[in-house]
Amino acid sequence: MRYTPAELMVAAAAREIRDGEVVFVGMRLPLIAFVVAKNTHAPSAVGVFENGVLRDTPARELLFTMSDGPNITGALSCLSMLECMALLQRGRVSLGFLGAAEVDRHGNLNSTEVRDAAGKTTRLPGSGGACDIAALAKRFVALLDHQKFRLPEKVHCVTSPGFGPWRSGRLAQGGPAAVITTKAVLRFSPAGEAYLHSHHPGTSIAEVLANTGWPLQVSPEARETPPPTRQELRAIRAYDRQGFWTR
């Protein structure tokens, strides 16, 4: 079966969810990943949305924001943002998904502002809940478009913390588990440095390295990312019928 790069990313993200876990879902591709996981290997996962919504069943139709009507209808519970963030802070959230404009060598994310070569600053929307999820979830997974300027050795601004000296005490348990890009899946060494775990079908390790802003370590076991299964694609397409997020 043919599939789009976004569909591959969704399938890869879905596999990060383990059955029974409490997951901070986020929107766009991760939302669809949650739906896929629920419909395949993780039927008991619970989704947390920072607007206060908890769901243990996918919404009946595609969401453009987490506060869309269908995400409320039949929800497990509607709480406040504080109560959802409290789940995070007290360590009840296993996994969170994040997007970002930049991801660096140690899994730090930037979604606040970027500077181009000429020094011109572009203001981005900001953290939202990203910093909180990165700091407090037991692990997080970032998704991004694999371009060299988006993978600098050091982000311009640490909106959401990856690995660093702050990973002690309460924050010791967290950090990035994976970065899923349009070309590859990166994971992290015990020292907190990213390495190439798998490259997507149609790309090569060399292409990934050439498009990464630092000398990326490559796992001796690096392999090709498994393509989405038929079942995963069915779940994706049943949900994002028009391909709004996944075409």
Binding site: N51, V53, M66, S80, M85, L124, G126, R170, L171
Partner: protein, 305 residues
Amino acid sequence: MKEKLCTLREAVARFVPDGASVALGVQLESMIPFAAGHEIIRQGMRSLTLVGPISDILFDQMIGAGCVQRVIAAWVGNVMMGSAYNFRRAVEDGVPHALDVVDHTNFTLALALHAAALGVPFLPTYTAGGSSVAARSPDIAELQAPFTGEKMRAVRAISPDVTIVQAQRADPSGNAHVWGNLGVLPDAVHAAKRVIVVAEEIVAPKVIASDPNRTVIPGFLVSAVAEVPFGAHPSPVQGYYNRDNEYYGEYHRTTRTRPEFEAWLEDWIIGVKDRKGYLGRLGQARVDSLKVRKHAWSVRADFGS
């Protein structure tokens, strides 16, 4: 309790002075009080501080209209489409004028409002460790925790001058039922010096009193309540209407440049008298198409004794 029922125009004129800090969009992407924001723009308020976690495009419109001096928020943009152009123009180029941005995370903003709601000057948290948000913010300080001695962060309380909320239904005293995702609404209401409730419908007090757990806004905290059906469009109101996704796309496509935004502003805000005029421009067919398609009524609860 005194009657506080008035028009949205009166509510804004009385309780949103120039220079005020105003919390809006406290339920994130739903129930954003667009009608109230548009009325603020029409009345030409200036030098406002906007407070809210994720404002979607309302903050962008108010910034573009020149009402705003400072934004205290975790995320400013167009949730479905990405960037919001007025916000970017203000920060990057000072157009229409310079904008002071105090970056928060969703959680630190929720804690700042919660601190004010609890009546304490700060609350402790583990979030934002290692983040530039904490390092740069005047509202986040280091703290050594009593009992455990851990290094944590303290978030400073934020007490908005006025919080404006969209509610599903309210009585004439401002007692309001709100349901669905609450976001930071409870704390934003309790943290504020004044509260304006914009309700989809004004109902009899006995409707509100039939379900006191649904009354997340007690009227004695409310300064004014206005009935404005479809007041949150294009954001959704659970049980009343759905999100107008197309509107967000159109806004994104038609506000890329300053002149385009100015035309948009004239069309949708300055050039209409009030929300009725706005809905007239939107057209009845479009309004009808957004209404709830499938009702899902709550099973009743017995408050009898």
